[in-house]
Amino acid sequence: MASSRKITLRSSDGESFEVEEAVAVESQTIKHMIEDDCADNAIPLPNVTSKILAKVIEYCKKHVDASKAEDRVNDEDLKAWDAAFIKVDQVDQATLFDLILAANYLNIKSLLDLTCQTVADMIKGNLFPVRNEWLNFTFSIANRELVLVCLTEWVAHRRLFCS
């Protein structure tokens, strides 16, 4: 295979993106498709919109460039870049979830880890309001351990009968 072969990716809304092979194979799904010789024409990605695909490609490009440089300083820089990359999406939760789904479909482990950890931190930071009014009362308790006592009981009873 040529070293700087270009691969065309087509999103669900028909837009085509041309990327280098090294960037495209960050995704294990695409990598297997290429290995199975399905990449002669554009690779269709019916589950990914163009907006999300653009972001994914931006992420992969950055990581491929960073691994080429192989500089120690780049580790912290890369982490900072990742944080800035994902911070935009924290505001727009829909994009964040679409990124998770895209990373899962395209099988890009580092992006999946990054996005899932971001959502986990948001859950920890209580950014997802509670649906039920009764459950809301628990969040207003300052003492975290009281939450644990009250509600582990409830949850544990459920699990006890479920398992």
Binding site: A94, D98, K124, V130, L135, T152, V155, A156
Partner: protein, 390 residues
């Protein structure tokens, strides 16, 4: 049947296939709901937000489990995960999935001793059953020392130890050295050294110290003073490396002066810990494992002011604050040979406490004439009952 409080039900379609629900739970939940209502009424009702959990509907269950695993692994207290499980019905059924629990960090399992209840016990058991070794270790310690069920506690710790959990290996070594849970004759020094060596090779600092002292004294293993000294130095180096890697401000590593006995209180307070005094560094004390913290809190709550005693039958506590272990029979722990006031479960605890605190307080006192040893040895049992200061 409650129509407003949808979350009290778990209709079969809402849960993922692996957590089957039983209608029997509805009765139980109804009674709990009453209690919850009475508590909720005085609170100001918060408005329901339309976003929140609904956006998660796009994600399949396995991705949600992935998110919760990361949440559990990075949680700083149990309430992080518990709170997530209360957000909505779907979260609740997935947050306690065994995959999530198996990755929970030790901080996520750090239940306080004053909150100990059946449900906390069940929670830890759930985590242990799902393959979380930290949970096995913590539950093992709690059962062995606090709940006094030695057999199940030891077997839980053994399960963690088999999976190369260093603190569990070290705890089992301490149990073997002291013959905890049995009589004085149940001590098995060679087994203790073997377990300690395994923990030490996994990098556990206390185990390294213990092994170093055993080698120096020829305790359970052939004496090799140089090798022992090497392990002690390695323990100190590892401790320093751990502190450095946990990004503490560098000003804490200033050269340290041993606090004087006279009232030099402000300087002594600033000096922090004397842990690496032989290297001339000032390093804070290592962070206490949740299991040890639980033990300390448990016994502190139960000893109504009796300094250092576990309350029942005059059983003493290890005088090292970060350890928390209690004796399982009288005179199991050994005391400082100089002052005879403090006692320790292991040499590692003694060495740490000496540097942290005891060095400045230790002073020769009137030696006890009547040891009052409950076991068979008489007055001459000097080797077993006292430890020389290293």
């Amino acid at each position: 049947m409650r129509t407003r409080r949808g979350a009290w039900y778990s209709p079969p379609d809402a849960c993922s296939g692996d957590t089957a629900t039983a209608t029997a739970t509805a009765t139980i939940k109804r009674t709990r709901g009453v209690a919850g209502d009475q508590a909720a009424c005085p609170r100001k009702r918060q408005s329901l937000s339309s976003g929140g959990c609904d956006s998660f509907d796009a994600l399949p269950d396995d991705l949600l489990i992935c998110i919760f695993s990361k949440l559990g692994a990075s949680a700083s207290s149990p309430s992080d995960l518990i709170r997530a499980s209360l957000t909505c019905r779907r979260f609740n059924s997935l947050a306690f999935h065994s995959l999530v629990l198996s990755k929970a960090s030790s901080k996520c399992l750090a239940i306080g001793a004053k909150n100990w209840c059946d449900s906390a016990h069940r929670f830890l058991k759930l985590c242990a059953d799902s393959g979380n070794m930290e949970a096995c270790y913590i539950l093992g310690m709690i059962r062995f020392y606090c709940l006094l069920s030695r057999g199940s506690g030891a077997s839980l710790m053994a399960k963690a130890a088999i999976n190369c959990h260093a603190p569990a290996l070290y705890s089992l070594a301490v149990i073997q050295f002291n013959g905890s849970g049995g009589s004085k004759n149940d001590k098995d020094l060679r087994a203790g050294v073997a377990l300690c060596a395994r923990a030490a090779f996994l990098g556990h600092v206390d185990a390294l110290r213990e092994l170093g002292h055993c080698l120096q004294d020829g305790y359970g293993v052939r004496q090799n003073i140089a090798e022992g000294r090497r392990f002690l130095v390695q323990a100190n180096a590892r401790e320093l490396a751990a502190v450095l890697s946990s990004a503490l401000p560098t000003r804490s590593l200033l050269p340290w002066n041993h606090p004087q006995h006279d009232a030099d209180a402000p300087r002594a307070a600033v000096a922090g810990c004397s842990l690496l005094s032989d290297f001339g560094c000032n390093v804070p004390a290592p962070e206490v494992h949740p299991a040890n913290r639980f033990l300390s809190e448990w016994f502190a709550a139960r000893s109504a002011g009796g300094g250092g005693s576990a309350g029942d039958g005059g059983l003493r506590l290890c005088s090292h604050a970060g350890c928390g272990r209690a004796e399982t029979r009288r005179h199991e722990f050994r005391r400082c040979s100089v002052c005879g006031v403090v006692n320790y479960c292991s040499r590692a605890c003694q060495a740490l406490d000496w540097k942290l605190r005891h060095k400045s307080e230790c002073a020769p006192q009137e030696r006890w004439i009547n040891d009052g040893d409950g076991d068979n040895d008489g007055v001459g049992a000097g080797n077993d009952d006292v430890m020389a200061v290293s």
